[in-house]
Every structure is written in structure tokens, then in C-alpha cells.
Subunit: 228 residues, 2 copies
Amino acid sequence: MGAEAATTNMTASQLYAALKRDLIDGRFTAGQKLAITVLRQRYGVGLSPLRETLNRLAAYGLLEQENQRGFRVPALKRAELDDIADLRRRLEGLALAQALQAGGDEWEAGLLAAFHRLKRADETPGQLEHWEQMHLQFHRHLLEPCGSAWLLRFIEQLHDQFDRYRRMAPANDTIRETLNLQHGQLVELAMARDVPAARALLEEHIRLSHEVARGACREDQTRPEEGD
Amino acid sequence: MGAEAATTNMTASQLYAALKRDLIDGRFTAGQKLAITVLRQRYGVGLSPLRETLNRLAAYGLLEQENQRGFRVPALKRAELDDIADLRRRLEGLALAQALQAGGDEWEAGLLAAFHRLKRADETPGQLEHWEQMHLQFHRHLLEPCGSAWLLRFIEQLHDQFDRYRRMAPANDTIRETLNLQHGQLVELAMARDVPAARALLEEHIRLSHEVARGACREDQTRPEEGD
DNA sequence: CCATAGTAAAAAATCGATTTTTTACATCAT
DNA sequence: ATGATGTAAAAAATCGATTTTTTACTATGG
């Protein structure tokens, strides 16, 4: 499977970041059981830091921890994606309204910069990983000054969950183009401090992404089976 | 400090529950650094399950994990309590509106039962731990059928955070009485499916609790100091 | 006298081995 | 032939010891 199997030793926080990204990127089969021994070799770490990382990721919601039966990659469930997307839409709507009221000059400057980097990444194909990073940073920056650390925390968590589906889904170039345009429009509405319009657009943006992400869900959704 | 230091061996999930409750109950000093060796003896467990539990609790937000410097009980910050309470109010408002639309007969029956148990606990002083449990179950049951597992998850998390402050705060019998009355009124409005009124009452309920919980915050809030 | 570098003690993190639990398989009884 | 029971292999969880990192103290130089 993976080509990222480095025997290089990693620190605990690096391991957490690496495993988290591999999960969101869909480098493990959904529903798959994770064999500790395999992971140990794959990431070149010992048991303790690995198990601690798995525990953290389970608490975060990117892994499922079964009683005394180890860890498992969560299955992709259409109903759960709908839940995640709906909630994400509502929470980001709240956060955006507050961000537009609270964001200052410094924030505007940063937003323009983040958008610029994202647009550059749009135009440069083949750099998927870089685009993903710029995209995440753009959305993060947009809501940053909303004033609620906990709201931002939950939004980030939902975003990670959502991305796991989105990145599993087949590409849709038509929608993708619209989504890219919306980023620019979001910047304009944000600078104009047009709360209702910006909020409506962001919610529409998430709805469209939701449509794309749905492609990750198999139609037959009645399988409590193993994934290996 | 603790009188719950049992040398009895515990399973990992029991340890998680015990440590979580001790944190929410305020049995550790806020801001305190947790010495692994001490915890090992206090709960009668080995290193691995203990460290895994600490990692989970840190991911959940009930502990802070510093780079290579172990774990620390988060300080009680007034600004954070305000954030938690405000967000809790908004999220529970959302959830209640949906729950009133979706809840069926079975839910109504369970709500009445949960309220009954809570009222019994109100009238029986000295059983603080039991009351806390009934109180949590009542609020949990109220929002249960809202239809969003992730929303419920976040609400639970905020509730735990909030309770850590509330249980540190000095008792306020006047407000406490009002809060108890509101539980009954909530049941009535919920059964009547009066969404706006129920929602307004629940939000007021949280606002009042917030006032009480504020008593946990020291007035001088400019101390990044050690706590031991 | 204060600051800085070095050193020793303490704490945290990691490792490899042991113990416990689960799962798969085969045997026996119905 | 099917289901239940016991056994062996595999996997997960836990333990105690080792290694690494941090912190507190001391001595030395400015």
C-alpha cells in the first residue's frame, strides 16, 4: 500500500501528525483493522508512543477503539457524512458572522495573502498536498477572529472528518471550478463585511463540497463487515 | 486531598472514567502538574494504561499536554468559561429545537422518568454524586433525539468542561432553587412541543448556571504561574 | 554580586518482554 | 451433519527496566 513507510525514527508529535494525515488522506481502507505490529514497522516507532497516538486519535474521532480488540479505521457512512456536513455548515456560519464583526486590518491582510496562495495552488496542478494545505489554511484564517476557541476547535475537528470523505471521493472538475470561484467571492464579501451574503455563500460552499464528498460513500450501506 | 486512592487494580476504561470524574469534580488543583508516579500509586495501575488515559483526556480537553514536560490540569480562566457557556447555550439551543421535532412517545416517557429521578435527588440532600448523575442524565435525555451524533458529542464535551467550573464554584442556594424549578418547566414545554419557549428557557437555564459557575474563577486573572 | 556554564537529580518518554485476552481451528458429542 | 467445547495460535494490553530529556543546584568567572 503506502510508499511513506520510512524506517526513520519519529518523535511522538511527528507520529501523531503523520498518522492523522494518513487517515484523513484515506491511505488506510475504511473499516480496516489496524495491526499494531504493522504500524510499528511502517512508522518505525516503539509500542508506547504508537499506542498513545492511537488513543489520542480515537479520542479525536479519527479512529474507533473497540473494547480489548484494538483500533479500527471508521467506516464511511453516508448518514454520518450528512451529519458532519450539516453541522459544519451551521457552525461555520456562526463563526463567520462573528469573524466579520471582529476581524481587523491585520486579519484582512492575512486573508488576502492566504487567498493568493490558494489561487496560486489552484493553478499549479500536481501539487495536491500543497493545495490541500493552502485550502485548509484559507478556511482556517477566514474564521480565525470569531472569538471562540472552542467553536474553532469543533470546526477544525469537523473539517478533518469531512476531508476524510472528500478525499476519498472521485474528483468532480465542474463543481471544483465553482468551489474555487467561491473562495474569491468569499474574500470580497468578507472585506465588505456583508454578513448575510458571506454567510449564505459559505453555507452554499459547504453544501457543494458535501455533494462532492458524497461520492466517497458506497451505495450499499448495509455492511457491518470486516474491511480486510 | 483524595480519599479515593484505591490500591485496587482497574481496567483501562475504568481508569479513564475515574480520572475523568476526578478532574471534573475538581479533585485536582487547577493548574497543577500531574506526577505520573503519584498517579500510578493513587489509581493502582501501570505506566502504559495510565499514559494512554492521560493522552485520551488531553485530546478530549480535560488535560494539557506540554511538549516533553508531562501533563497539567488546565487553569480556570474566566474568558474560557464565558466561551464554553456561550457556545454551550447556542449548541444546546439548536439541539433542543431539533429534539422537540423528532422526539417520540418513548422519549417523552423517558424524559418524565429522568425528571422524576432528578426531583427525587433534589429532595435528598447529601447525595451530591447521585444528584450530579441524575442531572447529567436529564439534560442528556432532553437533547437525545436531536438527530446529530456529532452535535451531541460536542455538547457533552462542553458540558464536561462547564461542570469542572461549576463544581469548583461556591454553592448558591437561591439560584440553585430557580434552576431546579426550570427543569420541571423544561419538561412541560418540551411535552407541549413549544420550541421557542423551551429554547428560550433552556438558554436562560444555562445563563443562570453560568453565573454560578463564574464563582470558580479567581478575580485576578493575570497569572501564568505554577500551581504547586 | 550577578550571570553563566556545568553537573547531578528527577521526571518523562521509550523500549522489549511478559501476561492476558481474543480468535481461529479442530475434535467430540448429539 | 451440525453445534458445542476445548485447545492452540495470534493479537492486544500491561509491566518493569532503560534511555532520554528536563529541571534544580552549584561552582566558577566576570
